[in-house]
Symmetry: C2
Subunit: 297 residues, 2 copies
DNA sequence: AGAGGTTACGGGCAGCGTAAGGATC
DNA sequence: GATCCTTACGCTGCCCGTAACCTCT
């Protein structure tokens, strides 16, 4: 007898074009996926997938089933949404988060989501925004809090908040000037996020425009950046909003400068899968929390 | 995790307003139904049914779920119908049949259905038409082949075939006349179907119109009627079409008479439940077979 | 040889049926 | 006490995960 589990499994296999991928996504093993698909094909008496040369493709019947399955899964979500109370929303949500958010309002979000949907497990994955975007596109994540704008057609996106970028130093670095000019800053190495991230590129452009060369240390881990700033190795180029939570009080301070960095614009983004009700709900909460955050000019 | 089985169970409990009824309908035990409903309520975190004073009623949430569940079950049927091949249609169908049909083309129908849907089990229940209609209305049957017309709003009905009614005797009864007048017939007891059936009423009316009184033996079992006719107890008032199959050749014959009985008009009828695809399909086959039957004037 | 899907097999647990329990008329 | 739903309990069978196997590049 056809059940939701088989249909959902089929859906993921069809989307990811991979049994292993679907297995991982559904938190089960690959043989289990094989069996569920086999059972589905057996129940319907129809071949759904063409297992050929390294890739899985849908037969004609498979495509037909895909449309039906999507509708069914969507309507089951809608049922849970409409009929069930908040505790009915269950399962595991893979949430991809940019590190800045981790150090500002992510805990608040988790707390709020836990309160609203006690049976929804959240799996937090911290990564840089380009990777998060990639993983959202491959449906490896259910929801992402990341730097935008995000123009992908397959992703729903909504604006969250902005963070000003500042130049932050530890106690070992001192400047004589009240307002530190760009050339004084350039004497130290600059510490910021990985190469292909928005802030890294913006920083590079800032110095190219002014004709100066700056040494930039890029690190995927904010903790490393902060540690280096604390040790006086260089100047961290990060949102000052995270200073409070990332180090002991007074150990880091922002310096005054007329160098202008574009702000970080954060977005919440998720792929439009049939079962993305949970993603939408969590996105709504994220938007509400982010709205209350200071958005320094 | 909500599955189709729970939803279907809920649907039947809601329709029949009874746990026991649903259990019987689903070929399981009543505690199993209790558990499925309990699980559904638990999953959704919502009370769906009010178990009060001898009757089950839907809460507001229950009514909401009913609509969703109906849609889901309907769409699963449509999925099986569209994507699966004929072997995908499975389950048990309760088919209620009027006895006349049993002795004409029911075997042909069963054969055809078995060939078309090898995994569909058929449970045949023979009863008189008024009872069949009642059981269709209470969803105790999935499909009925019975005397019509059927005017009920809750039942879908389509015309099948007509059978002329004749006066049939065994070898012990002989008439001098070539064409036997009504008064000669009235000298013997008449044997036909139960009191509240169409033919019984028609027969009664026939004699009332002619001002004569006839003794009518009514029996729910055609076999009894035929046995009595064979024994010369009376004249059977039945469709001559069944003579061939119900007794040895030449043991029964129809007598010529100008007494006119209205014909039997058979209909196929089924309740419009969300999962009535199978019923529709079998109804179609029944219509096709019945169309080929002689419809004597 | 390694990536990816299938088949084989043992074990755990969900869900079933029997049977007893409770509520309501 | 009869009817109808719930709870208890032992058991079965399904489905899962591990592991071995197959196939194609």
């Amino acid at each position: 007898m056809i059940d939701f589990r088989s249909l959902e499994t089929f859906l993921w296999v069809a989307n990811l074009r991979s049994f292993r991928g679907a297995a991982e996504r559904l938190h089960t093993t690959q043989p289990a996926v094989s069996l569920r698909i086999a059972q589905l094909e057996d129940d319907l008496g129809v071949k759904l997938l063409e297992r050929d040369r390294r890739s899985v493709s849908l037969t004609e019947k498979g495509q037909l089933l895909l449309r039906h399955a999507e509708r069914l899964i969507r309507q089951r979500s809608s049922l849970i949404e409409n009929v069930g109370d908040s505790s009915a929303m269950s399962g595991v949500m893979r949430l991809g988060v940019s590190e800045t958010i981790v150090h500002t309002w992510l805990p608040k979000l988790i707390e709020r989501v836990n309160a609203a949907y006690p049976n929804l497990e959240i799996e937090i994955e911290v990564d840089i925004s380009p990777n998060l975007r990639e993983r959202l596109l491959t449906k490896n994540l259910d929801l992402g809090l990341l730097l935008g704008p995000i123009g992908d057609f397959d992703l729903q996106s909504k604006r969250l908040c902005s963070y000003r970028i500042g130049f932050v130093v530890g106690k070992k670095i001192k400047f004589r000037q009240k307002t530190v000019p760009l050339e004084a800053i350039a004497e130290y190495p600059l510490l910021t996020f990985s190469r292909n991230t928005q802030p890294y590129i913006a920083l590079r452009e800032l110095f190219e425009r002014s004709g100066r060369h700056a040494k930039i240390h890029a690190s995927a881990s904010l903790a490393t950046v902060v540690r280096m700033a604390l040790d006086g190795i260089g100047i961290a180029v990060i949102p000052p909003a995270i200073i409070k939570t990332i180090s002991a009080p007074g150990r880091l301070r922002e310096i005054n400068t007329n160098a202008k960095m574009p702000p970080f614009n954060y977005f919440v983004s998720w792929p439009a899968t049939p079962s993305s009700f949970a993603a939408q709900k969590v996105a709504e909460i994220a938007i509400e929390i982010a709205k209350r955050e200071r958005t320094p000019s």
